[in-house]
């Protein structure tokens, strides 16, 4: 969990390291806040209705996905437009493993069944993460050893490839019909909720841990100036690929839990680009590369979506697009950046080929 408030801006964190560690009261306040949130979230299934539980489940799902995007794109500045692909891969892996487990449930006694199912769920989630990892490995090695926009461009296509494979490989995925799961291998909503909460919390924890580690510092150095990072001895390729792999495993696991919740997966729902848009909006709105930015962004965006935008499904996407543009122009460092009163560091790149313009307003 994070140590202090001031570390919300990574660029500054490296510069003012000695100053920010001075404050001792803030970390305790923050710790208490975090523990309170966790306790409330843990108690939620016993106290609230299914509707609120479902909402929270989706909130944690988006939080985990947004944090995973934050891990690669927020921290290193390498934009991923295809993160949904890993979610889709996870969803399909989960659906296939749960389906494979179905025949086995018939030959089990009622006492051993719950044990078998919990092992099956755990296995499915692990496999989802593992398969995502394996898909990400060649992608990362291929595109991240190069500087520049190769990664962003390649990732744009990855999601389309995923959708294409899911549609065309009918023997495995049943094509456009999708896979419907039997209720016999699906967990209770509260189990799914806890799993999703765990993933959201774990993703946030991972980002926090990396943020405060040497690895995180290296990643931010890459974002600010990759050439300089290389010069001072940072193994940029290894760092970028590692960050990408960690970031890809989270959506893989989330996809599995998502399938446990919806009990259905088809190419359209698993590889929807909208999910990626939402991840980007959440992270940008809250604050790119920060620990708490995505949490804040997820609460705001999911709240908005629930109360307002569910009414206009078509306009909702255009509004998200407009929001993205506005945030890039007026709040490049997100809400957390706005709240930070000290003079803002522009996101500009001193070594960029194009001339450096005045910082964004």
């Amino acid at each position: 969990m994070p140590g202090n408030v001031s570390s919300t801006t990574p660029a500054r964190n490296s510069r003012f390291q000695s100053r920010v560690t001075g404050s001792l009261v803030v970390p305790w306040l923050k710790m208490t806040g975090v523990i309170a949130i966790i306790l409330v979230a843990l108690a939620a299934p016993m106290m609230t209705s299914d509707y609120i539980l479902t909402f929270l489940l989706q909130l944690f799902m988006m939080l985990a996905l947004a944090q995973s995007w934050n891990l690669i794109s927020g921290m290193t500045g390498y934009v991923s437009f295809g993160h949904t692909a890993f979610f889709g891969v996870g969803a399909y892996t989960g659906a296939l493993i749960l389906t494979a487990g179905l025949p086995l449930t018939a030959c089990l006694t009622p006492t051993s069944l719950p044990w078998f199912l919990s092992v099956l769920f755990g296995l499915a989630i692990l496999c989802g993460a593992a398969v995502s990892f394996l898909v990400a490995l060649p992608l990362g090695i291929l595109t991240l050893r190069l500087k520049g926009p190769y990664f962003a461009i390649a990732m744009l296509g990855v999601n389309e490839i995923g959708r294409m494979v899911a549609t065309l490989w009918v023997d495995l995925t049943e094509g456009g019909d999708g896979i419907t799961l039997s209720p016999a291998v699906l967990p209770d909503i509260s189990v799914t909720y806890y799993a999703m909460f765990f993933l959201g919390a774990a993703a946030t924890g991972l980002v926090a841990w990396i943020h405060h580690s040497r690895f995180g510092l290296e990643l931010r150095t890459i974002r600010e100036d990759e050439g300089a990072a290389e010069m001072i001895g940072v193994n940029t390729t290894r760092d970028k690929v590692l960050a990408f792999l960690l970031s890809a495993t989270i959506p893989g696991a989330v996809g599995v839990v998502y399938v446990m919740y919806t009990s259905f997966v088809d190419p359209h729902s698993a590889f929807t680009p909208i999910l990626n848009l939402q991840m980007i909006v959440i992270v940008l709105l809250g604050g790119t590369g920060t620990i708490w930015g995505p949490v804040l962004g997820a609460v705001i965006i999911m709240g908005f979506r629930e109360f307002l935008w569910a009414e206009f499904p078509a306009a909702h996407l255009a509004l998200l697009g407009v929001l993205v543009i506005l945030v890039v122009f007026y709040m490049p460092r997100g809400i957390l950046g706005l709240m930070d009163k000290r003079k803002a560091m522009p996101l500009s790149h001193s070594t960029n080929h194009a001339p450096t313009k005045e910082p964004m307003p």
């Binding site: 744009l156 389309e160 255009a318």
Partner: protein, 293 residues
């Protein structure tokens, strides 16, 4: 049998060249913008669709032939591109890649959803050009495709000559090579960037008009094209005009060959296969400038 095979291959090559010319027109504009501003315009295919829908509107309401509406669409999109550069893109020039990529991504989402709201997700087309030219006994060339390819090649060539032969074109190339030195030499780089984005938008618009005569299109068609364009500019080399042209033709031909010998579904994957191959063997592309940040 032997001659049949050769005729079949020639037919495929011609089909590939014709499709490739359109890709080339689209990708050249994208690469022009990248060369001058180091910005990947994710909304480039949506600009193309603006052209296509513009031609569609002119055709349905005024009965204008797409080839005539080209005269209207291209200047209007040239202006629109300059406006977009002024209002949006200029603000992220020189910023971190994150800003420009996400900004243009946001623009593409907004444009696509505006398109969905105005024109719905139904596929539209402008079926004005028909028939085909028959060469010999086996080779047939559809008139739609050859007209589109001809227009595409003429426009690409005109832009190329503009870049090579005129003072303004020289200013664009200078800005692309080194913006700071260009500015010191008295080039108004802000204007050059407006001009560049205007040109790229106009090229995309022209590609859209020609596209509307060949394929049916919907606001969501952009995704396929932008992905292919990205593959093309990596294959050809990022920032290189001639590389984008070569890459476009190469992709068109490769797709046609794969579609001819295997299936159409496989041909959708050709762009990615070529992309992976180029990234493995020659990351700077056929004619690319080394990308240094």
């Amino acid at each position: 049998m032997e001659s049949l095979d050769i005729l079949f291959i020639v037919q495929l090559l011609i089909a590939g060249l014709l499709a490739g010319a359109l890709y080339a027109l689209l990708a050249c504009g994208l690469n022009l913008v990248f060369g001058v501003m180091r910005i990947i315009n994710v909304a480039h295919a949506e600009l193309m669709l603006i052209g296509a829908y513009f031609a569609y509107v002119l055709y349905t309401f005024f009965g204008l032939h797409p080839l005539i509406s080209l005269v209207i669409v291209v200047p209007v999109l040239f202006g629109l591109g300059q406006l977009m550069q002024r209002l949006f893109i200029e603000r992220v020039v020189g910023q971190h890649e994150l800003s420009s990529l996400i900004l243009t991504y946001g623009l593409s989402i907004v444009l696509m959803n505006l398109g969905l709201a105005v024109f719905s997700a139904d596929f539209k087309s402008i079926p004005v050009l028909q028939g085909s030219i028959v060469l010999g006994e086996m080779i047939t060339i559809p008139i739609t495709r050859s007209t589109a390819a001809l227009v595409a090649i003429v426009i690409t060539l005109m832009v190329y000559l503009f870049l090579k032969k005129t003072r303004l074109g020289k200013a664009i190339r200078a800005t692309s090579e080194h913006p700071k030195v260009a500015e010191i030499c008295g080039i108004d780089v802000v204007r050059v960037r407006m001009l560049t984005f205007g040109l790229a938008t106009a090229m995309a618009g022209a590609a859209g008009v020609m596209l509307s005569t060949i394929y049916s299109f919907s606001p969501e068609t952009g995704a396929d094209f932008i992905l292919k364009c990205f593959a093309i500019i990596i294959i050809g080399g990022m920032g290189s005009f001639s590389g984008a042209f070569a890459g476009g033709i190469l992709l068109g031909v490769a797709e046609a060959l794969v579609a001819g010998f295997f299936t159409t579904q496989w041909s959708e994957m050709v762009a990615y296969a070529l992309l992976v191959l180029v990234l493995l063997i020659r990351p700077t592309g056929l004619r690319g400038i080394a990308y240094a940040r």
